[in-house]
Symmetry: C2
Subunit: 398 residues, 2 copies
């Protein structure tokens, strides 16, 4: 199946179109302002979508959805095709830890690394505290491209092992140096960045979020309809935007009859999307407080998140550290051990309840990554805790 991608389109003004190549990773050159380098998205020849595209069974690998993605020039790892798992009250969990590098970021990186391969980039550069870097490094390795990962000295030690295993060059440099260095690597070495390279609000790669659309396709295929609401963790909002766009496409193509309300959930310690929506601006900058949800503690939002919430009648929500912990524990007691940040969707649903419009169908929370990626993982001693010993003694002596 061939890609039907035809153009890039400014998110600030959909009538502003650019050719599909090269990917405009620094934002739209026409509509951007001093404040916001507006992101772009990909437009398709929707009239040419094969009539049976959504009638075929789900399968591993984004090639399953090739017509509605940019060209997949980089080899895949069987990404996607993750399960929906039911919680006790019927809420569905879309378990994205079941991807090749155990997070949703594999969907974005299959597409973004493909863009680099197709545009003749000499390597991949990425800035990430964990999941994004691991996925970029894996797809770069598989495509035979070198990969440079800028990470934080606070990143979990296991993540460094993970990144280095793929042969990536892993650099912990001060935050202020990251983007200037990335731009040099792009400009002087001909690498392509799969992270945002602008100093304004988050711009990101125009092709990347397209990969997340496949989460919406899979959910609709599994449920036989669109859900009533979808709750997702929000860092820069690429996942929120991608899933919303996927559902919008399904409705446009007549596969489903409605678009779910999209809820983007942020740590209370870093609520940039919430602030942007509150103030009616395309992007806001907020101070970031301490949070265990290190994968989504972003000081700026992307305009993508604003669009997704507005277009679907959803909302941005924030959750406290206690609410994160509580949602993470609920998931673990149901057999799903996730990264703290990954529990944001469920934490938002449990803390704020179903929305006032009421739920007129299934509710889905996207869980993005595994508990192995957390900073605190591995800090417990393996030796039996006293409480454990007491539990068994009490059991055997009663």
């Amino acid at each position: 199946m061939t890609s039907l991608a035809r153009a890039q389109r400014s998110l600030a003004d959909p009538s502003v179109r650019h050719p599909l190549w090269p990917p405009l990773t620094a934002g739209c050159p026409v509509t951007s302002t001093g404040e916001v380098a507006y992101p772009l998205e990909v437009d398709y020849d929707y009239d040419a979508v094969p009539a049976d595209l959504f009638a075929r069974p789900a399968a591993h690998g984004l090639e399953r959805w090739a017509p509605l993605l940019p060209p997949l020039a980089a080899p895949g790892l069987g990404e996607g095709n993750t399960p929906l798992v039911a919680l006790a009250d019927g809420v569905w969990v879309k378990d994205e830890s079941r991807n090749p590098t155990w997070s949703h970021k594999d969907r974005l990186n299959r597409v973004a690394v493909s863009a680099a391969v197709a545009s003749g980039a000499r390597g991949i550069v990425v800035s990430s505290s964990g999941n994004h870097g691991a996925a970029a490094a894996a797809y770069a390795a598989r495509a035979g491209l070198p990969c440079v990962v800028f990470t934080s000295p606070q990143a979990p030690p296991a993540v460094a092992s993970h990144l280095r295993a793929y042969g990536a060059t892993v650099l912990a440099v001060p935050y202020a140096s990251v983007r200037p260095l990335m731009r040099r690597i792009v400009g002087e070495l001909g690498y392509q960045s799969v992270s945002s390279v602008t100093d304004s609000a988050h711009t990101g790669h125009p092709f990347g979020p397209e990969g997340y659309k496949t989460i919406a396709y899979e959910i609709a295929l599994a449920l036989g309809r669109a859900p009533a609401a979808v709750h997702v963790p929000v860092g820069y909002g690429e996942l929120l935007f991608g899933v919303a766009k996927g559902f919008q496409e399904l409705a446009r193509l007549g596969v489903t009859s409605a678009v779910p309300r999209m809820y983007g959930v942020e740590p209370a310690a870093a609520g940039a999307l919430t602030e942007a929506l509150r103030t009616g601006r395309p992007a806001a900058r907020v101070p970031v407080g301490p949070t265990a949800a290190y994968a989504i503690d972003c000081e700026v939002n992307s305009y993508r998140g604003v669009l997704a919430v507005r277009a679907t009648g959803g909302a941005a929500r924030t959750v406290t550290e206690d609410q994160f912990a509580s949602a993470r524990e609920e998931l673990a007691r149901q057999g799903i051990w996730c990264e703290v940040s990954s529990a944001a969707g469920l934490a938002g649903l449990r803390a704020h309840g179903p929305d006032p419009a009421g739920e007129d169908g299934p509710v889905v929370c996207v869980v993005t990554s595994s508990g192995y990626k957390d900073v605190a993982t591995g800090r417990d001693p393996v030796v039996a805790a006293d409480a454990d010993r007491e539990t068994v003694r009490a059991l055997l002596e009663r």
Copy 2:
């Protein structure tokens, strides 16, 4: 779909049958000897298998294969339905890290915890250095049963975090105390063990390996035929046996025309199956040397492995630490970061080559678990290594 499981059958003598319930976790009471507590397997009413069972698409959750499994009384987590990923030379990797707790053990535990639920057990007890314990704890939590995990003080610290997240009681006790304590927990508390409780060669749970049959079903469905050879890591040989049985069933039911040669690969530091086959005994005990493949460093084998190799014309093979490392690196450079033990199948294939009979079709290596489970993971510092810094400096200054 209803289970067609009808009876337990001794692996020492298939004519010795027992009722399906209760699961005979201490081995066959009729055929066992002082040396070997012979394991049992499950027999089915094969004549009643629905004609279209293998015509339907793959799906998450072992219920997809319910007719050929014992009753699935415990709720699932969407286990199985893992992808086949191609290496550069066309060898297929069955990526079992894509399961709910990121290893193949989820397939076994869905079935074994179901047996506990169906027989009214009050809890689950398991002995494991990692993957098996995590899977047992997750399925026990989901079923609402308490779980006690005996683990080793040498287990990776991240694994302790993993086990505790599900609410399991985690005990590190001296190796010699494990089985006596497990038997007490079974006898006095009414728990069911999903690990071997006998002091003889490995006996194991009679239902557990049935879960691994679904790996064979999925491979055959994905390839449209049986492969020529399958290479799997061997600890106690439950995976080897289960996959072999799955392919034998497919041939018996006329779904495929041949059974692949099954290769069981052990660390050179612990080659009990190799020794049993060499000496023609049902089970051997060997000294265990140091190895990074901690998940499969077993001092005894199970008779299951002997049967699987003999019935399929395969072999047991051993690999050195260097061969493990080399296979693990090959996989990582193709985007698949696995636990050292998990690389055994590919390590055996690369070290010993295709077998003398030649390969008359696809070759599959089963990769069982993620690199996050390794002892060495997380030991690297996050700070940039000097080599990494030099790489980027050299790139930017040339």
